[in-house]
């Protein structure tokens, strides 16, 4: 049977109307630790450079240090902001992710286009009991979803759910 009914554009489900599920609050800590580690290493690098480098504490090292301190503060401020925006939503037929303070993007992948999905866990994430859920499509890495900051049990449940949906679609 072939159906071809008229579609009313105004009645289509709207991605923007979903309520995005927030990430776990512990994820804030993960981000803070990650940012601090990154910049900490950078500062250590500067320290080594001025201690053992042949220029000593040259003016340009000071300049770079100042810049990176500034960036560090900006990055810390952005962690909070991006946490407020980041979120994901499961709908009946797709998964939606929203991210980004400076570049905000809303990406949607329908279940019937997913190849597979997996859970990964970094050491810091593991400490806080969090996981990253990754969803892969054939559309290349720029369209794959990677949702960090989901509680481990939740991530596993979501993965089960998605895998089941993918399987249903393949029937």
């Amino acid at each position: 049977m072939f159906e071809n009914t008229q579609i009313n554009i105004d009645e289509l489900p709207v991605v923007e109307e979903v309520t995005f599920q927030k990430l776990d609050p512990a994820y804030l800590k993960v981000e803070y630790i990650g940012t601090t580690l990154f910049f900490g290493l950078l500062f250590l690098g500067f320290l080594f450079l001025s201690l053992f480098g042949r220029w000593g504490f040259a003016w340009w090292i000071g300049l770079l240090l100042g810049l990176s301190i500034f960036w560090f503060l900006v990055a810390l401020a952005l962690v909070k902001k991006s946490y407020a925006i980041a979120g994901y939503a499961l709908r009946e037929r797709d998964v939606v992710q929203r991210v980004g303070v400076i570049w905000r993007s809303v990406t949607t992948i329908p279940f019937n286009r997913m190849q597979h999905c997996e859970i990964t866990q970094g050491p810091v994430e593991k400490f806080f009991g969090l996981s990253t859920l990754k969803v892969f499509t054939a559309g290349g890495s720029s369209s794959d979803l990677s949702i960090s900051g989901i509680r481990r049990e939740d991530a596993q449940r979501i993965r089960e759910f998605i895998s089941q949906k993918i399987e249903e679609d393949e029937k």
Binding site: P13, V14, T108, T137, G140
Partner: protein, 499 residues
């Protein structure tokens, strides 16, 4: 089984002996390319002594590698077993690759001059899957290769339809219809209408690298000596430029023409039962095929010169991992409207019946274009040259009105056309690029905004497919959302497989 051309596949086969020759040649060429500066030193600069120890070591390594590649040849087998194509290889570590025949997407042939001389082909086999599992056999006899491909195709049909195929049909070439054959005159038109600036850039890059190598090898500074000589003769730089630019353009024009002929000589384009097939090339004959389900989107270009000749260049983009997608697409450098129409009809049968609603992007994009292609380059050039040129460096600011004019043109020409089943976009300043996409080929939808775009109420809409993304930049956010929701709806209710 006696008359079955594919019978040989049931037992392990080695490649043609030509493969050894090819392997050795490839090795020699690669070595020569890496080491020719060293040779130059050896020949022209006896003052610079090269350690004979290194030379011996190098020759020894070369011998070992050559020996290994010969052993590799004798350890390489391919055959068919239980509906799987099996490849065995490996000198030290044994590798066995099993590919289910119904997972094989395309079997492509390639022939270099040497291949043609010995009547062998190299076979590239590409399989489905988001990670491009593809592999190649570097030389097998042409009849065997053809038998292999026909066998794969008939087996795929058989597995797909679950019907018994009688033995006579196995290995019989499928029906195909020649759509297009390029004559030398067509090639000339195509060559003329290519983007010559790109060739110019390539030549420059190549020349730079070449000069660098020579300078390193001979330990001289070419530019310095050239500059010196020119200064000695009271040479006029302006005159050199006046003479040099047309000469340079002429060279790049000629090279593009030669390249076009080499690449697309005697190009033939067929419609086959399952999709399309293309063969072309003078020295290296390339054959490529695309099955219809695997084609994700279609692109075609035209520019003022092409319009004059009424030709288009067309690309059929196939699903593949990003690393191989460039090689996977079928490129037709030039064809006429009727050929383009045939391709569009095959990819998107309903296109001609549907109503398309035209839309334009926001004018805000002009500012981005002026910023990226006017203000940034102009500022950079002024900063870089102000020391050398003094106040006349500010002539670079003339880029600004040019960028403004071009950005207006860019905005004016950007169009998208929406329909029930798919989307078409057309964009460009002089070269107009069009893309045709069916909704059900889309993998993911993204709406993306920078802070600036959020303030202006515009967004970039990105539709990802398995053969690359289609973008609509700076579209009003409400429209972007409508398209996003509609595309998702179409993908989610469509039960057709995207591949």
């Amino acid at each position: 089984m006696k008359n079955n051309p594919a019978a040989f596949l049931s037992i392990p086969n080695r490649q043609s002996f030509v493969a050894i020759l090819l392997i050795l040649l490839r090795f020699a060429r690669r070595t020569a390319r890496q080491l020719w500066p060293l040779l130059l030193i050896f020949l022209f600069n006896p003052k610079k002594q090269t350690d004979s120890f290194f030379l011996t070591a190098f020759i020894l390594i070369a011998l070992v590698v050559a020996l290994l590649s010969i052993i590799a040849f004798f350890k390489f087998y391919y055959y068919v077993k239980d509906d799987e194509l099996v490849i065995e290889k490996g000198v030290v570590r044994k590798i066995k690759i099993n590919v289910p025949i119904d997972r094989i997407q395309t079997v492509n042939f390639k022939q270099s001059l040497l291949h043609q001389f010995f009547d062998v082909v190299s076979v590239e086999i590409d399989t489905a899957g988001s990670i491009g599992h593809e592999f190649s056999i570097s030389a097998i006899a042409k009849q065997k290769a053809e038998a292999l491909r026909n066998y794969v195709e008939s087996q795929k049909r058989e597995i797909a339809t679950r019907q018994e195929v009688s033995e006579e049909i196995i290995g019989v070439p499928p029906k195909q219809k020649l759509l297009l054959q390029l004559s030398p005159f067509d090639l000339l038109k195509i060559g003329i209408s290519q983007n010559h600036l790109r060739t110019a850039g390539l030549i420059m890059a190549f020349f730079w690298g070449f000069l660098d190598d020579i300078e390193d090898a001979l330990n001289i500074d070419l530019f310095k000596s050239l500059d010196q000589r020119l200064a000695d003769n009271n040479f006029d730089w302006f005159f050199l430029l006046l003479l040099g630019i047309p000469f340079f353009l002429l060279i790049s024009f000629t090279l593009t023409l030669i390249n076009t002929v080499l690449l697309h000589f005697d190009l033939k384009f067929w419609k086959t039962e399952s999709g399309f097939k293309i063969v072309s090339g003078l020295f290296t004959k390339k054959e490529r095929s695309a099955t219809l389900p695997k084609i994700q989107l279609i692109q075609w270009n035209t520019n003022p010169v092409k319009q004059l000749f009424e030709i288009f260049s067309v690309r059929l983009l196939q699903a593949a991992s990003t690393a191989v997608s460039r090689r996977q697409s079928i490129n037709i450098p030039g064809c006429y409207e009727s050929h383009l129409a045939a391709v569009r009809q095959a990819y998107f049968p309903k296109e001609s019946e549907l109503d398309f609603e035209a839309g334009r992007i926001s004018k805000v994009i002009c500012w981005r274009q002026v910023l990226y292609f006017g203000i940034f380059p102009a500022a950079l050039m002024v900063l870089l040259t102000i020391r050398m040129l003094g106040p006349s460096a500010f002539w670079w600011l003339l880029i600004l009105p040019l960028a403004y004019f071009l950005s207006l043109r860019y905005h004016r020409h950007w169009r998208y056309f929406l329909s029930e089943e798919g989307l078409r976009t057309t964009a460009g300043i002089f070269t107009m690029r069009s893309v045709l996409l069916q909704w059900y080929k889309v993998q993911a939808v993204e709406v993306r905004q920078t802070i600036y775009q959020r303030r202006k109420g515009v967004a970039n809409l990105i539709l990802y497919t398995a053969a690359g993304a289609v973008r609509i930049p700076y579209i009003e956010i409400e429209k972007a959302r409508v398209i996003q929701n509609f595309a998702l709806y179409k993908i989610e209710i469509d039960t057709r497989s995207w591949m």
